[in-house]
């Protein structure tokens, strides 16, 4: 009897969490996998008998859909350029903040964290003004040094970079805090020992600081990659995917198909493709991490 009790006990403790995870995370994933094999639309939602099983048709169509392929390309573009920028810039900010005095540090911590807690719609309005080709602040500043007006949001390629700048600015706060915490947890003794050995600033940075922060860096990189693969808010509020689909991301495309055109089956298939990509990207990173540790 008591043996049973001990065996069941842990289940009671993790039960609520598992239940919530099941209902709100796993069930939707399996449900959307199911939906991706059907032609569910708004009509099917009201009348289940009008939903048909279509096999892999949605997936086949997806990979012939130029807009979807373009949105995959754009998403990788965002990740490849945006993630290194976001991670390195927040690391640099954290390092600089750890060097300056307490008062300065806390002031700037607040300033850098501000964008993360600001409403994205308010950000969109302000950055819309900044990026305006005709009277925006950026072009005004550039005009002072005789640089022609840049089509910030009017050219498919330039617009991608504009959104990356915006997203890096917005995401720096959170990663910066994680880096700062990691920096502060490095024991001072290491540096003292290094000083005695006569190590210079750079040697200390590369031999002590960076290796000690490897877990924080790993965590920030994984979450940033996942976040950027699901790049959505910035194009949604700034460009709606335009111009000429130049800024459309996979997540935004899924939203457009599913919630603007009510093409639920198709959107579910697209979201599953995104899901697979996120999983693969994460697995790759964990592999790299493991190699790292064995070294």
């Amino acid at each position: 009897m008591t043996k049973w009790k001990y065996k069941l006990m842990p289940l009671f403790f993790i039960g609520p969490a598992v239940l919530l995870l099941m209902v709100f995370s796993f069930a939707p994933i399996f449900l959307s996998l199911g939906i991706s094999f059907t032609d569910l639309t708004l009509i099917g939602l009201a009348d289940w008998s009008k939903v048909n099983f279509v096999g892999f048709e949605n997936f086949v169509k997806l990979f012939q859909d130029e807009v979807f392929l373009e949105s995959i390309f754009n998403t990788f573009f965002y990740v490849i350029i945006g993630v290194p920028l976001a991670v390195s810039s927040s690391l640099v900010i954290a390092l600089l903040l750890s060097m300056v005095g307490k008062w300065l540090s806390s002031t700037f911590r607040l300033i850098y964290y501000m964008p993360s807690v600001t409403n994205i719609v308010a950000i969109a309005v302000v950055w819309g003004f900044l990026y305006n080709q005709q009277y925006g602040l950026f072009n005004y500043i550039l005009s002072l040094v005789n640089i022609q007006s840049v089509p910030w949001l009017e050219d498919p390629l330039v617009a991608k970079f504009s959104l990356i700048i915006l997203a890096v600015w917005k995401s720096n706060g959170v990663s910066m805090l994680i880096f700062l915490a990691a920096l502060q947890s490095i024991p001072r003794d290491y540096y003292e020992a290094a000083d005695i050995d006569g190590a210079n600033r750079w040697q200390k940075f590369f031999k002590i600081t960076l290796p000690s922060m490897s877990f924080a860096t790993f965590f920030v990189t994984v979450t940033t990659v996942i976040g950027w693969l699901q790049f959505f808010e910035e194009p949604f509020v700034m460009t709606d995917g335009g111009p000429l689909n130049g800024t459309n991301s996979m997540a935004l495309y899924i939203y457009q198909r599913g919630f603007e055109y009510n093409d639920f089956g198709y959107a579910a298939a697209a979201s599953f493709v995104l899901f697979i990509i996120v999983i693969i990207a994460t697995i790759i990173q964990f592999r790299f991490r493991k190699k790292d540790q064995t070294l």
Partner: protein, 403 residues
């Protein structure tokens, strides 16, 4: 231990009961209404007092309508009376959201289709069913600067699209950063209006071949002209009110709400601007929008709901509503009131509403119109050939319609 589990269980049951209890609580005399306008709650009070009915108003912001309606359709749990925007009618009606009101039209005096603008009635019909009764209407007219248009020889504004192009060229010649008109790049209805005005029509039975009509091509080449020749600004430029006030964009198409926007936002140009009906080529038809009130498909309070809708459809009610929130009445009788009839600007909207066209009442309309905008962007921004792009567009449309 056992006691604690029992306690926990009973607490759980109590919470569940509470939740269930909150969900209920409606009685015979309450009707639930979903609307998109904040003012409705106050507005319905008068009806509640006169009829001894309680109207439970839930305001849904326009941005959340879709989510809310989807949930209602999927779960079958909705209100009794529901407001719906005209463009959403085909999608929601095809999913069976509304009760067919055809059989009640004769029963209530205010439901008579002759009371309303023809276009407004057109948007209440879906596959032979009447899904609602028109409440407010909306259309687009031309806003223009009388002084600047007079300088180029059109003091009354351009009457036809040929005049429009001529006036626009002259206006754009004024110099750098001077444009003629601010075309609504993101408005999926605008290309359709332009095509109607060139004599094109969408015939539901013909599907994609509708877009083979040379009149459609003519209209779209005009669309292209405005960007190609710099008559309308391609980029997101100055804010509209400012540009209108300083004259760099002396014309634009918009709805009734912008009368207030301009008169409050740019008081310095008072008397120097006006509105006029759409420029015509073969016709001067504009779009018709607005909203209707319908009954949710499984409402158990059909009679009470219809009575409330009958009240909302009344000319006096709609006139009151106009005075309150400036939404134009769908009821023709309301337009005879001097408040509207003698207003120099709003009466123009009344005139334009006589000449409107119903957007294609098909579920695929949203996708077809949004895709058209994208294909047109390929032409005016991406530099693609218009005719071959429209050909690709036709293939896309037949694809969409085939699904």
């Amino acid at each position: 231990m056992r006691n604690k589990i029992v306690l926990l269980m009973s607490l759980f049951v109590a919470v569940m009961l509470l939740v269930v209890g909150c969900a209920g609580g409606d009685d015979e005399n309450t009707i639930k209404v979903w609307t998109m306008n904040n003012s409705m709650e106050e507005f319905a009070k008068k009806y509640e007092e006169e009829n001894d009915v309680s109207v439970e108003v839930q305001v849904i912001p326009w941005g959340e309508v879709r989510d809310k309606f989807l949930t209602a359709i999927a779960s079958g749990e909705g209100p009794d009376v529901v407001q719906v925007g005209t463009t959403g009618v085909p999608e929601y009606a095809s999913a069976g959201m509304f009760k067919d009101l055809s059989e009640y039209v004769g029963e209530y005096e205010n439901f008579n289709p002759d009371n309303f603008y023809e276009g407004a009635i057109g948007t209440t019909k879906y596959e032979g069913e009447t899904i609602g009764i028109p409440f407010h209407v909306d259309t687009r007219v031309l806003f223009y600067r009388t002084d600047l248009l007079a300088d180029v020889g059109y003091p009354e504004g351009p009457e036809t699209w040929d005049d429009m192009v001529d006036a626009s060229r002259k206006l754009a010649e004024r110099g750098d950063d001077q444009y003629a008109i601010d075309l609504p790049q993101e408005d999926p209805q605008y290309p359709f209006m332009l095509a109607w005005q060139h004599g094109w029509n969408y015939n539901v039975d013909e599907g994609a071949s509708n877009f083979e009509d040379p009149k459609f091509l003519e209209a779209m080449s005009k669309y292209k002209t405005f960007y190609e020749e710099g008559l309308s600004q391609l980029e997101e430029g100055k804010e509209l009110v400012q540009a209108f006030s300083e004259g760099s964009k002396p014309m634009f198409f918009s709805g009734p709400w912008d009368i207030k926007t301009i008169s409050e936002g740019a008081p310095e140009i008072e008397g120097k601007w006006d509105v006029r009906v759409m420029p015509g080529q073969e016709t001067n038809r504009s779009m018709i929008g607005g909203s209707h009130f319908g009954v949710f498909h499984n409402s158990e309070k059909v009679e009470q709901s219809l009575d409330f809708i009958n009240y909302l459809a009344d000319a006096d009610t709609q006139l009151e509503w106009y005075k309150e929130v400036n939404e134009l009445p769908a009821n023709l009788e309301a337009w005879e009131d001097p408040v509207l009839a003698d207003d120099p600007m709003f009466s123009v909207f009344g005139e334009q509403l006589q000449s409107t066209e119903v957007l294609p009442m098909i579920t695929e309309y949203t996708e077809i119109s949004e895709e058209l905008l994208k294909y047109l962007e390929e032409v005016y921004r991406g530099g693609a050939d218009l005719e071959s792009t429209l050909e690709e567009y036709r293939a896309k449309v037949s694809d969409i319609l085939a699904d």
